[in-house]
């Protein structure tokens, strides 16, 4: 596969990977938000997604790691902002 060398493509890849984590996790995202253990609960899946992401995205891409972390929060947390939980 062609290596990702632009921030825009890296951002896109991160969002796709994280949205896949959510799609395949089923109820676990909601339960994780309710119990405030989302990132521990999905640690394995997130680590696999991160490994793939870092493998595909060139080290020269600015803020490579932060792009993934932004997607993590944006898709898993903000994307599920309607979940009823004490954390907000």
């Amino acid at each position: 596969m062609e290596r990702v060398v632009t921030a825009e493509r890296a951002r896109r890849l991160a969002r796709v990977l994280i949205s896949d984590v959510a799609a395949y996790a089923g109820d676990q995202v909601r339960i994780g938000l309710e119990k405030d253990d989302l990132f521990e609960r999905l640690a394995g899946e997130i680590a696999r997604a991160r490994t793939w992401y870092l493998w595909q995205v060139d080290e020269g891409v600015a803020e490579r790691t932060r792009l993934f972390d932004f997607a993590l929060v944006d898709v898993l947390v903000y994307g599920h902002r309607r979940v009823q939980t004490h954390i907000w």
Binding site: V16, A23, Y24, Q28, E45, R48, T51, L54, W55
Partner: protein
């Protein structure tokens, strides 16, 4: 659990003792990526010095395990009576794409519906399907590489996302009837700019092979 320093090379990179050269290579890449300074997976667990030391040991492990002769000697030192099959023999036999690995169940809450298999992303393979086979894992890899979310495929094709997950997860037993499945596969292939007929034929063949193996 033994510390990293006490683990043998196989344990260190989490490779199977009888692993093929491809499995060793893949395990090495994953282990290396895990302990790179940029990896957030371990940044809070190990200091930069620790990571550097582990990375050195991972490189050392790979140098030995990727060399057939060194690996045999190492296996003998580990007390393994039957050294791993020589790399040349294993390399001559292409491996079929690996089935998707289910998510490890570790959660106390019962899940209402059966969870679909989590497609483990293969960091070693790229776009091209191995042996020309389009199975669920390959389709997922292509989709991710193109930057297309599952939800987008569902929106475009009107295929229920549960069906899409089952297709990508090679969950043949819960897939719709073949006539519908073929239509779904063709629609997915179009979204991924693949040859619809080829994808549908390939996936269906793989599904039949799987069914015949079970019988």
């Amino acid at each position: 659990m033994r510390s990293l320093a006490e683990q043998n090379y196989y344990e260190l990179i989490e490779a199977p003792l009888e692993g093929t050269p491809q499995q060793i290579e893949r395990a090495y890449r994953i282990a290396r990526a895990t302990y790179l300074p940029s990896s957030a997976a371990t940044y809070s667990l190990y200091s930069a010095e620790d990571c550097a030391a582990i990375l050195r040991r991972i490189e050392e492990a790979y140098a030995v395990l990727s060399d057939a002769r060194l690996r045999r000697e190492y296996d003998a030192r580990l007390g393994r009576t039957e050294p791993a099959t020589p790399a040349s023999v294993r390399e001559a036999r292409p491996e079929p794409p690996k089935p998707l690995e289910p998510v490890r169940e570790r959660r106390p809450e019962p899940v209402a519906a059966k969870r679909p298999a989590q497609a483990e992303l293969d960091v070693e393979n790229g776009f091209d399907p191995e042996n020309g086979v389009f199975d669920g894992e390959v389709l997922r890899r292509i989709r991710v590489s193109l930057g297309i979310e599952l939800e987008e495929i569902s929106t475009i094709t009107k295929i229920n996302d549960q069906h899409l997950r089952s297709i990508e997860g090679n969950q043949y037993e819960v897939l719709p009837a073949p006539v519908y499945l073929r239509g779904f596969l063709k629609q997915i292939a179009k979204c991924l700019s693949l040859d619809p007929a080829r994808v549908a034929d390939s996936y269906s063949n793989r599904m039949r092979e799987s069914a015949s193996r079970r019988d």
